[in-house]
Amino acid sequence: MSKSNFTRRGLLKTGTVVTGAGLALPTIFTSRASAYTNEPTGDTVTFGFNVPQSGPYADEGADELRAFELAVEHLNGEGDGGMMSTFSSKALDGTGILGKKVAYVTGDTQTKSDVARASAQSMIQKDGAVMISGGSSSGVAVAVQGLCQEAGVIFMAALTHSNDTTGKDKKANGFRHFFNAYMSGQALAPVLGKAYGTDRQAYHLTADYTWGWTQQASIAAATEALGWKTVNNVLTPLAETDFSSYIAPVLNSGADVLVLNHYGANMVNSLTQAVQFGLRDKMVNGKQFEIVVPLYSELMAKGAGANIKGVYGSMNWNWKLEDAGTKAFVQSFGTKYGFPPSNAAQTCYAQTMLYADAVARAGSFEPCAVVAALEGFDFDGLGNGPTSYRAADHQCFKDVLVMKGKDEPTDEFDTLDIVEITPRAQVEYEPDNPMFAGGDLGQCNNGA
């Protein structure tokens, strides 16, 4: 690489000079300033995929990484092209992006916000990444999104379900394709009402941290609107593995529904143990006792085994959908890896495609140009049906799936059934909804 190729730090510095804020440094060292952070000047452009590779979500991270690799392959014209052929925007042609081949670096977030930021920093400072994607927890997503905003690169959030990511912690440089806790509540409540009636007493067990709280609030609000009563909401420690002391009081609390606001290993354990306590065989208030898991993932369903049979939950996407985009993606992913993709994988693939397409349409990798291209962008063919990125908060609006644990699985991948595809209109909300209020998108940051 020649001198002028590698000047992203120079531009950080130039920024200081131009804005006049702070003390200027001697400029003798830098040869040329770029227009924005990590402007790709060679024949490649680098993405940073920041996923959990150790810790409890490592398998989820591995699936996300598979989807990223597949997306990069397709962008560079290798493989069968996947959803590129079904994507409604045709700006991408399989020759990379704006004539540059796509390269990528990977990193381990360990599902810790500190480590995730260090890893993202190294992608930005060392590897020259123009876009960071990934995440398996909302805490990490919010932390990395904040970093990308400051550094002047785009963050395409992957798996993050908390309202805060596009609520009080929203950032102009960050975009979320995944759905959120509010949408889960809106999609689930009517189905639950239909299946279990409107006169129910719900008992919530909630993971004691930000995501758990927002999800609990969302579900409680949506079900209470239906006529349900919330009997109790008990916070459980994140590190807990034995939930028996929290489940035992449910038995005689008069509740007839248990809502588990848990994710990952927490959810696998709490659901397994709740089933062992015989909750699902009980009759309370003359009704069959039921368990609800508002946020599902394929890996959790696998981990919980037979215990998820008949349990309702929601999802962003599922490989059993029948549209052309899903079919193309499942075909391409399944052929390469031998099993169907998870909904985390789909959101990662879609986010990579959406970013690439926005760059192609904008004609530049400049973050502000990309932001402008993504804001208010309507598209279809990426598996979720007609979707749009709202300009006000950078949240994607699309249909949400209500799922149910399958009673008679035919093979190891056949764990969940789609009960209902909740139309987008039903899960949409105003940007100033109280659950999302308090944040400020700010201005897009080019970093320079």
């Binding site: 810790g55 028996s244 354990n269 397994t272 919980a304 399944g334």
Partner: protein, 343 residues
């Protein structure tokens, strides 16, 4: 009242796991004087013995069924377990169903072997080294062991259900004279509690009533004198390490239906089991058992809504609070011998 009894049962159940892990840990400390940070990993490996046996039992030969299609539209592969083919649908299926209890037989030799290898290959060289070095090397070993398991089994929890007949819950209240349906308790958790009582009793009986156990106890009290008497105490201590590993492993095997095993479950228990050992008294076997059950019960009561509403977050810190109080007021632990590790 029934709520209290339920929490008491939960406490006994949590305590069973704590007691079994702490028992092995304190056994190793009492005999070899080694602080073993890899003990949680042994618990985890035990759990994965159960997973492995279920997987072996489920080994299948694959036939292609052209009638059905898989998710890609290719002809579906039908898996039929060899066990079912060899032993017929009744015996074969029953074996698969009973994989977790059967894994006890599988885990005992595996765990003893792992214990021997660990002691002879690594720990032996650390007797004379400071505790900090022992902690560090066994902690390194724990990381290596869990990463190896992660490489082969992934990071996701693996469901390992109990046999069909123990899967549900039983009406425990009726057994002790309560109204029906007042105290419903999972059958497997009762099995786990009884199992751990059995193991604890076996370890104590072994140490109390066999010559081997007597020598080991003598060695724990005064290693040098026993050595002067011409007894090869090292060899016996190696065997005790194997037994301690097996106890942790069995605790892991039977724990799998309660908690789908994943590769870092050992780390989850590590800190806790040390707290249990210290509260009970370093090197004291009855102390480890007592404090295991005690901490389990206290933790269960602290998780009750009534307590939590008074002191939010108390369930997260109660164990540590007790540890602090015990160490400050009675440093040799609940049942530690006077003068041992006391200051």
């Amino acid at each position: 009242m029934d709520a209290l009894i339920l929490q008491f049962l939960n406490g006994l159940d949590k305590g069973s796991a704590y007691a079994l892990i702490a028992l092995g840990l304190t056994l190793i400390f009492g005999t070899l004087g080694v602080v073993n940070f890899a003990h949680g990993a042994l618990f985890m490996i035990g759990a994965f013995c159960a997973v492995t046996l279920s997987k072996i039992f489920a080994l299948s030969h694959t036939t292609i069924d052209p009638e059905k299609l898989d998710f890609l539209g290719n002809p579906a592969k039908i898996q039929s377990p060899y066990l079912v083919e060899w032993f017929g649908p009744n015996v074969g299926a029953a074996m698969i169903d009973w994989a977790v209890p059967l894994a006890i037989l599988f885990a005992i030799p595996v765990m003893i072997a792992i214990g021997f290898i660990m002691e002879r290959g690594l720990i032996k060289h650390f007797y004379k080294r400071p505790h900090a070095d022992q902690i560090l090397v066994t902690f390194g070993l724990a990381i290596v062991l869990q990463e190896v398991i992660k490489y082969f089994y992934g990071a996701n929890p693996i469901p390992t259900p109990a046999p069909e007949m123990f899967r549900g819950s039983i009406d425990f209240g009726v057994l002790i004279g309560f109204d029906p349906n007042a105290i419903i308790y999972p059958a497997w958790r009762l099995v786990y509690f009884l199992f751990s009582c059995l193991i604890i009793a076996a370890v104590f009986a072994f140490l109390q009533f066999t010559t081997f156990g007597m020598v080991v106890r003598a060695g724990m009290a005064d290693r040098e004198t026993v050595g002067i008497l011409g007894i090869d105490i090292d060899k016996r201590f190696t065997i005790m390490f194997g037994i301690a590993a097996a106890v942790a492993g069995l605790a892991g095997v039977m724990y799998t239906p309660i908690n789908s095993p994943n590769y870092h479950m050992g780390m989850d228990f590590l800190v806790l089991s040390f707290v249990v050992v210290v509260v009970g008294g370093m090197g004291s076997l009855p102390g480890a058992v007592l404090s295991g059950f005690l901490l389990g019960i206290v933790q269960s009561f602290a998780s009750m809504n009534e307590v939590k509403s008074l002191l939010p977050g108390i369930d997260q810190i109660i164990i540590y609070l007790i540890a602090i109080i015990v160490i400050l007021t009675r440093p040799r632990g609940l049942m530690g011998r006077k003068g041992v590790m006391e200051e």
